[in-house]
Structures are given as structure tokens and as C-alpha cells.
């Protein structure tokens, strides 16, 4: 084949194109592209698109697997029920509060970690690993580890507090302290990813900008606010969008740390969806709750996108 002249190559190609199986092996570019994208399309249809349609449909149904009764149309009944359900309001409020506390918290801590990690260390790997390990740790592991950290008797947090002369706190007996412990854990777990993103952004800022600012007599603080922060904005916004959407889905850490307790004071909307779906098998109500969460995260994305457009 390699020695064949160009003309014979072309005719050979034309001949083979008439046979159906060679056409399958070497199809035209457009057909090939469609074929290559087909598995992605199929998978996304099965796991995302069809379930979304089904979710909305089920939220208008009475569908409880415990009764064994077939689904009946319920109209807005599930939604009406939700509005009068104090646990819905409590878990939604907890979710919003966790988002409002841990997203800015992770951003601030992540920024601090990134600025520290950007110093010219001789060995880079200990710092890099210190940012990667919290990221790679499963959220459920982080929840368990920090539940042990905050243990009232033998936890290292209370030990340090006592050594410093404070009273130990019984973290998981009060809603407030349990909530604080959960937020601290989430901030620790998620700030390292923020730091990695911000660090990558920091390393793209040319040194010359700082040198020029130095010549103009700008202080370090001014340099930070007028060079570093504006140039970091694109990477920060992207990280914030994903962090906010994952914060709205918070499940693993409160589930492993407190199981939502005491009572339902630290339960999140995701935990309530899980409870209604898997424990109570009330799929209609679980779906209605999920639609609310879906609306929340769409709202967040819309707000961020508007912010990007307004300032960009």
C-alpha cells in the first residue's frame, strides 16, 4: 500500500467505498462524528435527561412504594405539603446557611493557602501534597475524621482548648456547636481545591506587573487588590460556581458527623431527599423536594452568570 501511486490509492478507495462494511470502517467525517458522540449522548440521556423529565413528572404524583399502590396524579399536592412541612423549611434553611458560610469560608481559607503555597519553597512536593490530600480524601472520611476530632472527651480539638485554659465544648449535643463543627469540616475539606485553582491562577500573573507597581510605589496591599485580585477573578468565579453548587448538595459530611442531629437541626435538604426516597420510599414527595433543590442550583448558576456578564 505504501508504495502505491496516488491514483491507484484513490481508485482503491472508491471501490472499497461501495462495500457496506468498509463504509462502516471508514465512514464519512460527519457520520463518524455522530457515531463517536453517540455513546456520550446515550449515557447522558439515560442518566441525566430522561431522569430530569421523570423527576418533574413524579413530583406531581402520589407515589409511595410502601403502600404498593400505583402512582396517581396528585397535582400540586406534594408541593403544598412541602410548604407546610417544618422539616422541609429547616433542612432548606440549613442548606442555605451551610452554603452562605462555607463557600466564602473556603474562598478565604483557600486564598490564604494559595498565597502561602505560592512562596518560593525549595521543595515543592510537601506543599503540593498538603493541598492534594484534603481534596482526594472522600467527604465521608473527612466527616468521620472530624467527628473524632470534635469528640467531647477524647477529641484533639477539646484537648487543645483545655491546654489553652478553656472549657471543652460538647460539640454534638447542641445544634449550634454541631453546626459549627460541620461548617469547619466542610471549609477544611473544600478550601484546598479552591487553593489549587487560585494557585494555578497566581502562577499565570507575570512578575513584571508587580515590578512595575513597585516602581510606582504601590504597597503590597495595594498590589494585592489592584493586580492579584482582578487577574484572579476568572479562576475564582469558576471555582465559586462549582463550590456553591456542591455546597447546595451537602450530604456526606453532616451525615457521617451527626446524622442530622441533634433532632433535625443539622440535617440538609439532600439528607431529607435521601430519607424520603430511600427510607420512607415516598418517591413523589422526594421528587418535589429535589425539584426545589434543582431550582436553587439553577438560580445560583444564573446569578453567577449574570455577575460574570455584568462585570465582564
Amino acid at each position: 500500500m505504501a508504495t502505491a501511486s496516488e491514483t491507484t490509492l484513490v481508485t482503491a478507495h472508491n471501490e472499497s467505498a461501495t462495500k457496506w462494511w468498509t463504509r462502516f470502517l471508514d465512514p464519512s467525517e460527519r457520520t463518524l462524528a455522530l457515531l463517536l458522540l453517540l455513546p456520550t449522548a446515550l449515557l447522558l440521556s439515560l442518566i441525566i435527561v430522561y431522569p430530569v423529565c421523570r423527576l418533574v413528572w413524579t413530583s406531581f404524583q402520589n407515589l409511595s412504594l410502601t403502600s404498593g399502590a400505583p402512582a396517581t396524579f396528585a397535582g400540586l399536592e406534594n408541593y403544598a405539603l412541602m410548604l407546610e412541612d417544618p422539616v422541609f423549611w429547616e433542612t432548606t434553611w440549613n442548606t442555605v446557611l451551610i452554603t452562605l458560610i462555607t463557600v466564602p469560608g473556603a474562598l478565604l481559607v483557600g486564598m490564604a493557602l494559595a498565597l502561602m503555597a505560592n512562596l518560593p519553597f525549595k521543595r515543592k512536593w510537601p506543599v503540593r501534597l498538603s493541598l492534594l490530600i484534603p481534596w482526594a480524601l472522600p467527604l465521608a472520611f473527612a466527616g468521620l475524621i472530624f467527628a473524632w476530632f470534635f469528640h467531647s472527651e477524647y477529641g484533639v480539638v477539646n484537648d487543645v482548648l483545655r491546654r489553652l485554659g478553656f472549657e471543652g465544648v460538647i460539640w454534638f449535643n447542641s445544634a449550634k456547636w454541631a453546626f459549627a463543627a460541620i461548617c469547619l469540616t466542610i471549609i477544611w475539606k473544600t478550601s484546598s481545591f479552591m487553593a489549587l485553582i487560585i494557585l494555578a491562577g497566581l502562577q499565570t500573573i507575570p512578575r513584571s506587573l508587580y515590578e512595575a507597581a513597585e516602581v510606582d510605589g504601590a504597597g503590597r496591599l495595594r498590589q494585592f487588590f489592584e493586580i492579584t485580585l482582578p487577574l484572579l477573578k476568572p479562576s475564582i468565579v469558576v471555582a465559586l460556581i462549582f463550590r456553591t453548587i456542591t455546597a447546595l448538595q451537602t450530604f456526606d459530611i453532616p451525615f457521617t458527623m451527626t446524622r442530622g442531629g441533634p433532632g433535625t437541626s443539622t440535617a440538609t435538604l439532600a439528607m431529607y431527599i435521601h430519607q424520603n426516597t430511600v427510607d420512607f420510599l415516598d418517591l413523589g414527595y422526594g421528587s418535589a423536594l429535589a425539584v426545589v433543590m434543582f431550582a436553587l442550583s439553577m438560580g445560583v448558576t444564573a446569578v453567577y452568570l449574570r455577575m460574570i456578564r455584568a462585570k465582564g
Binding site: I47, F141, I145, A247, A290, S297
Partner: protein, 283 residues
Amino acid sequence: MSHETTTNRSLLSGKPLRILIGFILVVNGMFPALWILFTSLKTEAELTAKPITWLPHAPTLANYLRAFTDQPLLLFLFNSFMVAILSTALTLFISVLAAYALARLQIRGRDLILSAIIAVSTFPLVTLLVPLFEIMRALGLLNTWIALILPYTVLSLPVCTLILVSFFEGIPRDLENSAMIDGCTRLGALFKVVVPLAAPGVFTAGILAFVNSWDEFLLALSFNSNPMLRTLPVGITLYQGEFAFPWPVISAALVVGIVPVAVLIVIFQERVVSGLTSGGIKG
């Protein structure tokens, strides 16, 4: 060294301060894992001593033995490993095909398709718990690996596609064309020429997909209630009884669970960082 430190002159360029900051970073990142390691080596008696000890005084491996005998920890590891490996393989296969189409072939609406795939990644999978539960139930897939492999593949598909598109675009077309003149089909050229040349990208995408699957908790908890099919993160929560929290045993199980991914991260740290920051999407 000194001319390199232009961004961090004066105050912060002092060596002692830099060492201190490095120490803070390392403690922040490593201390929780280290503390769990210390706890796992303590005896029950030492654990309940007051004031608490930091380093284990009489290190013991008894907790590790109990971690493997109290619960089928090896089975949890096996389930997690198989689900993660299979979903990673599936993710890579599907995203290699898609990324090649997006990077190389002339298609209308290329950017639209790419952003549609990425938009999916911002979709909260929790909200699909009910319909996915119903679908898996209808297909008889509850309590199987497949019930997790399919959603996990979607979880990593956007990141992997994004990484692979950028890698494929960096490979010169001539290499592919000459392979095709040598009698390769387009798909043959993809798998014999393009994928091997993009190996670093494929590898990076693979590690991210593996970690994503290894970490997932909610779907694993919801779809596989059979204890024999528990993945590691879910299985580890089974050690805690209604009232008893055998912390040294839980810690030992946690250490066992941390080691595989930690090894992966230590070996491939630079690649993971580049993958995460080029298109990484994870909480």
C-alpha cells in the same frame, strides 16, 4: 534564589518565616490523616486515658486486625476498586471517542456540544436520586456494581472530555494522516496513534475519574443496601453501632481506605494538579 523572590520580597522572603508557613500548610493538609493514623495504633485503654496522648505510647496493630474481621473490609475495598476501575475505563473510552470527534472532525455546533456536556457537570446528581433509583430498580440493577458505574461515568465524563479535547488538539494531524495513508482507518489511527501520543492526558483524566468514583457516597449508600455490595466510604460508616463508636477500629479502616488514593496522589501529584486546574470540577 534571591532574584526569584520578587513577588515575595521584604517581610516574607525571610527564610525562617517561609519555613513556618510551609509548616502551617503541611499541618493543615496532613494533620487529620496523621491523627487518624496515631489513633489507629492506640489501644482502647490509651485512647480513654486522660489527658489524651498524642503519639501512641504502645503502638499496636490489633485495631487493623479488627477492622478486617468486624466488617468485610477487604470486600468493601474490592467493591470500591472494581466500581472505580470499571467506571474509569468506561469514562475514558466514551470520552476518548467524544473528544476525538470534538477536537478533529468538522462538525457544526462543536462549541455548543462541548458546553452542553460541561453544563451537565454542574447538574446536582442528588436531585436525580429519585428517578435514578426508580430506573435502577426497574432495570433490576439495585445492588449491583452497574447501578454505580453508570452514574459515576457521567460524574467524570465532562472533565475527562475537556482534558482530552485539549490534549488531542495538541497532536499534529500529519502523524494521523500518515497512519491513514499506511492503511489505518480513522478509528485505527485514533487508537494506534492519537491515544498513545495523548497518554499523559488520558492518564490524568483517568486519575481524576478514579478519585471521583472512589469518593462518591450518596448514590452508593442509596442504591446498594446489600452489605456485600457496599463500597468503602459507605462500608466504613457500618463500624459505628447505635451507641458504640469503636474509634481505633474506625481509624484503622480509614487508614486502609486512605492509603490507595494517597499512593496514587503521591506518585502522580503533578499530573493531578495540572488536570484539576485545567478543567477540574470537584467539591
